[in-house]
């Protein structure tokens, strides 16, 4: 019992002073009271570091100091295109400007550029100084040719190159650079620049339907049914060729064209002509003899011609101030009011 208590005291002493006396006290106590599986054989020189076994001690190289930032070594007349040759995020060590960005703290200033994430977030144009753009232009000039001097006006361009093709290229940010909308081809040509006669022109307009704009006289063909732009372009040219050749041909059933299919109003053989002539004939019925000769004479008269002009104008162009006035004058003259 006494020996036991003595051992306990030795134990507590050992624990308290272990860090001073080192391993010896520890070892003695181990033999006496501890029954641990811990091995206290500390043979490695690195105290407190994990045992690396046969690899040897960790060699810690002394920490290298960071070098001087580039902005402190910049001459005033340096080539800036060498500092920012391409688009790059903002580097505070490379830009010699004392830029500050951010919302200031109360009674403070915006944070400085070192470690400023806001300056990195925004796109910068440090790589697009006027000098840099001049260099780009010089490099691109090798691949460019002069614009032909004969084509200096829009009119001449339209005359020599009547067909205009429009395609769009799309640029986006993502893993894929392809965009399916880039296959659409827009072909525009003026109807008047095509070699069509009267019948062919009217047939072409009927075939085109809503692809033809009457005000500007432009045919627009938009193709997007093929997956590749080249295919769509070939298809558009094929459509134009086919339309042109088909409109020159005259089919058998085209002779069945009725008055309702006509594009323009014509006064000959119209109810307006019949009514006018019958009115005039009845006006003169007391004086002269009826017959075809009278009709032809009546048609030849200037008032009738004027009436014809005004009716055609009203029907084709629609109602407007001047056309109705013209119609009024013509009717007054015709009926001798």
């Amino acid at each position: 019992m006494a020996a036991h208590t003595l051992n306990i005291y030795m134990l507590s002493l050992g624990r308290m002073h272990c860090h001073i006396y080192g391993r010896n006290v520890h070892k003695a106590l181990n033999r006496a009271t501890y029954a641990t599986a811990l091995s206290t054989n500390n043979s490695s020189p690195n105290k407190g570091f994990p045992d690396r076994g046969s690899r040897g001690p960790i060699i810690r190289r002394p920490r290298r100091e960071e070098g001087e930032p580039r902005k402190d070594r910049m001459p005033v007349d340096q080539d800036w295109t060498a500092v920012y040759p391409t688009a790059a995020p903002f580097r505070p060590g490379s830009v010699p400007l004392p830029v500050r960005m951010g919302f200031p703290v109360k009674r403070g200033v915006p944070p400085e550029k070192k470690g400023n994430l806001e300056l990195i977030k925004i796109p910068n144009f440090l790589h697009l100084t006027p000098t840099a753009i001049k260099k780009h232009c010089e490099a691109m000039k090798l691949f460019c040719t002069e614009w032909p001097s004969a084509l200096d006006t829009n009119v001449k361009c339209d005359e020599h190159f009547p067909i205009k093709i429009e395609c769009k290229d799309y640029v986006s940010a993502g893993t894929s650079i392809r965009n399916p909308s880039a296959r659409i081809v827009n072909l525009r040509v003026k109807l008047s620049s095509l070699n069509l006669d009267d019948h062919a022109g009217k047939k072409m307009v009927k075939l085109l339907g809503e692809r033809y704009c009457k005000e500007t006289d432009i045919i627009t063909i938009i193709t997007d049914s093929c997956p590749v732009r080249q295919q769509n372009y070939d298809y558009a040219m094929y459509l134009l060729t086919v339309l042109y050749h088909e409109s020159w041909k005259t089919e058998a059933w085209e002779s069945e064209k009725t008055v309702a299919d006509m594009e323009e109003y014509s006064w000959e053989d119209s109810p307006s002509q019949k009514n006018a002539l019958s009115t005039l004939v009845r006006m003169q019925i007391a004086g002269e003899v009826e017959g075809d000769a009278v009709r032809d004479k009546l048609l030849g008269r200037p008032e009738v011609q004027e009436y014809r002009e005004s009716v055609i104008r009203l029907m084709n162009e629609g109602e407007s101030e001047s056309s109705i006035l013209q119609y009024r004058e013509a009717v007054k003259k015709l009926l001798k009011l």
Binding site: R64, G115, I120
Partner: protein, 159 residues
């Protein structure tokens, strides 16, 4: 003992009844906000400004064209962003000074990171090369890392 017995015969012990437990709702917004504390916690600019300041006092950490009108692929870009952030956070363990900025130029992915000088430069170079190669093979597009190192985090204020 009697009161205890009465509590024991309430709803929880009776098997044929059900109840709904409600508390008063706490309508506070807690998103991405570090609450005011003792005054010894350093915060970066990114942590100090709350999400409703994005667009007014804060910029966007990730930039791409998919959120514009008529453009596709917004969901794919978002998922890519999330993955890249987690990957870099894990690869450069304990070395990041601030959030990562992801920029996309054409089909190239540029990851801009601010790091602390906790590792020797050789290890940094290895990890940067490893990240670039792995992410390039994963996303089938060129991935570049632009790393800047600082001695310690840039503190905006203390909360």
């Amino acid at each position: 003992m009697n009161t205890l017995a009465r509590v024991g015969t309430s709803i929880c012990t009776n098997p044929e009844t059900r109840a709904l437990h409600v508390t008063a709702s706490c309508c506070k917004n807690r998103a991405a906000r570090i609450r005011v504390g003792k005054g010894d916690r350093p915060l970066t600019y990114e942590q100090a400004l709350h999400p409703h300041h994005i667009g007014h006092r804060k910029g966007w950490l990730s930039q791409h064209t998919s959120n514009l009108m008529g453009e596709n692929g917004a969901a794919d870009r978002t998922v890519e962003d999330v993955f890249v952030r987690r990957f870099i956070f894990g690869t450069f363990h304990n070395c990041l000074a601030n959030e990562i900025v992801i920029k996309r130029r054409g089909n190239m992915l540029v990851v801009c990171a601010l790091m602390l000088q906790r590792l020797p430069p050789q290890k940094f170079y290895f990890l940067i090369g490893y990240t670039e190669t792995l992410l390039s093979h994963f996303y089938k597009c060129p991935v570049k890392m632009e790393v800047q190192t600082l001695g310690d985090k840039a503190v905006y204020k203390y909360l």
